[in-house]
Subunit: 240 residues, 2 copies
C-alpha cells in the first residue's frame, strides 16, 4: 500500500519547485519506466501493478494495486507503472560536436519533441536557458519517449554559456541567411528561441551568424513552429 | 442571445458526423476566425463578443455576451469569437507539383502541423485516406493556425487515387533509401503513414520508391514522429 506521505511526495514531483528541492522526478508507463531502468538514470522507487511487466531490481520495486496507482498518477488513465528517479548530474558540455541551445522555449510538447530530435540526430548536448520549461515536467517526459536518457540536458545562464564557449554561435531568425546556402562548420552552437518572440535581444548580441528556413508558400503564413524548425535545422547540419 | 437550438447545432459541429451532414464546421479565436473571413471560405455565421475585434460583413456577424460564447465554445477559455463556416468543395488535385498523401494519420496535432508544413513549403494539395483524422476537427483547426485556408485538402480512397495518378509515388519507410541520396523529381506524390504502423500494406504495393531519414543517434531510438518526418521530407523536396 502507498501511504499518505508517499502519495504527497510523489504528487509533489509534478511541480518543478519540489523536483529541484528533492532532486527527483516521476515518470509513468511501463515502456518509459523500463527505458529509464535500462539507462544510467538511478531509480529511487518503482511502483508497479504487475511485476512481470518490468525488469527491475527487487529492492527498488513495490507492487501496488491499480487503485493506489491512480492516487499517485498524474494521468487520467495510468499505465501500470510509475517510477521515481534521481535527477542526473549534468555532464560537462563538450566542444567536439554540435550543441543545441534553447532560449526560453516554453511549451512542454515542443521541448519533448526537440529532445527526441537531438536523440535522432545524435546531438549529445542540449543547453537550456533557465526560463526554458523544465525537462522533467511530466508533459515533457511524455513527449520525449525515453530519448531523455540519451541526451545530456543542462539548465544554465545561456548568455554566460555562449560567452565562455569557443564554438561559433548560429542563431535562427526570420531574416537570417538561407539554411540552404549556409556552409555548416563541423561543430558549433545552434540557438533556437521562444515560441512567440524568438531569440531574446540579450542572446541575439552573442550570435555570430543568422540563419533561416526559406518559405515557399504564401508570404502571409505563420512562422514554423520551433520544433519543426529544429527538425529542419538539425537535418541540414547532419546531412552529408 | 443564442437560442437552444443554435447552441445544439454549433456544439454538434464538434463531431465529424454532423459536420459531414451539415457541410459546416466551427472555428474559434479572433485570429483564426479573421483569417478564415479573409480567405475563400464562406462564412455562415460569426458569433463575437466585441464587433470592433473583427472585420466582417454586418449580415453575418452576431454580437453575443461572453456567457453565451461559453455555451457554444469547445474551449475552457473561449477567445472572443466563434465562426461557423461552410466546408469548401475540394478542388481537383493537379499533377504539376508535389502532392502530399497521408495514409491513416490519426493524431489531430500531427495533422494540424502537417497542414502548416504544406503551407510553409507551398505544397498545394494534401490527399488524405478516408480513415485519416478529419481536418475540420477542432483540435486540428487549432493546430493549423489558419494554414487550412491555403492548402487544398481532400479525403478519398487513397489506393484508388494512387492507381489513377500518373505521378511517381514515394513512400516513407524505416528501411527506405536515404533521403540524402534520393534524387527528387520535379513532381510526385509523397506518402506518409500511420503513427504506430506506418504505411498500410495495401498502399505499400502502390509505392514506386521507398525513402527514409537516416538516424545519427543511438540505434535504440524511437522513430521520428510523422509530423517531424514530414518537415524533413518536404524540406528535402524543396531545397534547391
Amino acid at each position: 500500500m502507498v501511504g499518505k506521505s508517499q502519495i504527497k511526495f510523489i504528487k509533489s514531483l509534478q511541480q518543478k519547485k519540489y523536483r529541484n528541492q528533492k532532486g527527483m522526478f516521476a515518470v509513468e508507463g511501463i515502456k518509459t519506466v523500463q527505458e529509464l531502468l535500462d539507462s544510467n538514470f538511478e531509480a529511487y522507487r518503482i511502483y508497479c501493478c504487475d511485476a512481470r511487466l518490468l525488469n527491475a531490481d527487487d529492492d527498488v520495486i513495490e507492487l501496488i494495486p491499480e487503485t493506489d496507482l491512480k492516487k499517485i498518477s498524474s494521468l487520467k488513465n495510468p499505465n501500470k507503472a510509475l517510477g521515481v528517479f534521481k535527477v542526473p548530474s549534468p555532464q560537462i558540455v563538450g566542444s567536439d560536436d554540435w550543441v543545441l541551445a534553447l532560449d526560453n522555449v516554453r511549451d512542454p510538447g515542443n521541448l519533448g519533441t526537440i529532445i527526441r530530435l537531438c536523440d535522432w540526430f545524435g546531438i549529445p548536448h542540449l543547453v537550456c536557458s533557465e526560463n526554458t520549461v523544465d525537462c522533467f515536467n511530466p508533459k515533457v517526459l511524455q513527449a520525449t519517449m525515453g530519448s531523455i536518457t540519451r541526451v545530456n540536458i543542462i539548465y544554465t545562464d545561456l548568455g554566460r554559456f555562449l560567452k565562455t564557449s569557443e564554438l561559433p554561435v548560429l542563431g535562427t531568425f526570420m531574416d537570417g541567411e538561407s539554411v540552404y546556402s549556409s556552409e555548416f562548420t563541423e561543430k558549433g552552437i545552434l540557438v533556437l528561441g521562444n515560441e512567440a518572440n524568438g531569440i531574446s535581444s540579450e542572446i541575439e548580441t552573442l550570435v555570430n551568424s543568422r540563419i533561416s528556413i526559406p518559405q515557399f508558400g504564401s508570404p502571409t503564413t505563420e512562422s514554423l513552429n520551433v520544433a519543426m524548425a529544429t527538425a529542419i535545422f538539425l537535418n541540414e547540419i547532419r546531412r552529408p
